[in-house]
Symmetry: D2
């Protein structure tokens, strides 16, 4: 689950393969453009790690980050 540390909200997600992991990233990339809030994230094969903070608020965790986390969790629920 999401962990908040060093002014970031962090979670890793695991998928059955790269195709599903990248489909998940694409869904969130579209969401990011819709709400104009972009994550720092990394991927290797079936694993995606997201780190969220709000640059415009001074690199701390804000409601924008909690909303992004909820959107990620809601889409990830389809994969498990």
């Amino acid at each position: 689950m999401w962990e908040e540390k060093d002014n970031k909200l962090i979670r890793s997600f695991t998928f059955e393969d790269f195709q599903s992991a990248f489909a998940f990233m694409t869904k969130l990339a579209l969401y990011a453009e819709q709400v104009n809030h972009h994550p720092y994230w990394s991927n290797i094969y079936n694993r995606v790690t997201i780190e969220l903070c709000t640059h415009d608020a001074g690199d701390v965790v804000t409601d924008k980050d909690y909303n992004f986390a909820r959107a990620a969790d809601a889409f990830y629920a389809k994969f498990v």
Copy 2:
């Protein structure tokens, strides 16, 4: 469900929004590269329609198309 007519295998898929529809397309785009078999497909907002046939076999439906259809159905099952 899939309908076979005029030497094509056809199905439409409906999603809750564009983001989910395009994530579905991305998953299948990656699958298409993996198996080197590409669909004719169209999208408008939350709807994706796929038409499959095998060009190298003379534009008829082959096992490559049935396999693609199964991959599409398996991924779509996550969305419903």
Copy 3:
């Protein structure tokens, strides 16, 4: 180039391969979410065809469609 007929703005784009064609679609999918205006579009291998009209204006061509067309042209210019 873009052709306007039957209250739609239509253009086809050709790429060197499927990977480039789908990267182009992904760029425009992100743009579509940003501006909340979504195309009807189809793809087969290295070809993408886009048909634009504005549903909320009664399915006619509006500035939203011309803006989308310009965004598509600007990104396509990288590929040719």
Copy 4:
């Protein structure tokens, strides 16, 4: 340009915006499925960093990584 250190091949790429950065990632995700070789990569807004090594060869840099690097450079050339 690419730097080889600690048995990894590493490069960062900068784009004009997130949409272009993610389109670049999508192109490479499709390439990764085609050649069955997947990167460790991260993204924040308009920046993509790729780290390549070959797990099956004992986590060292192999021709698979150099080929991936060349594919990334070739696609990136369209953006600059």
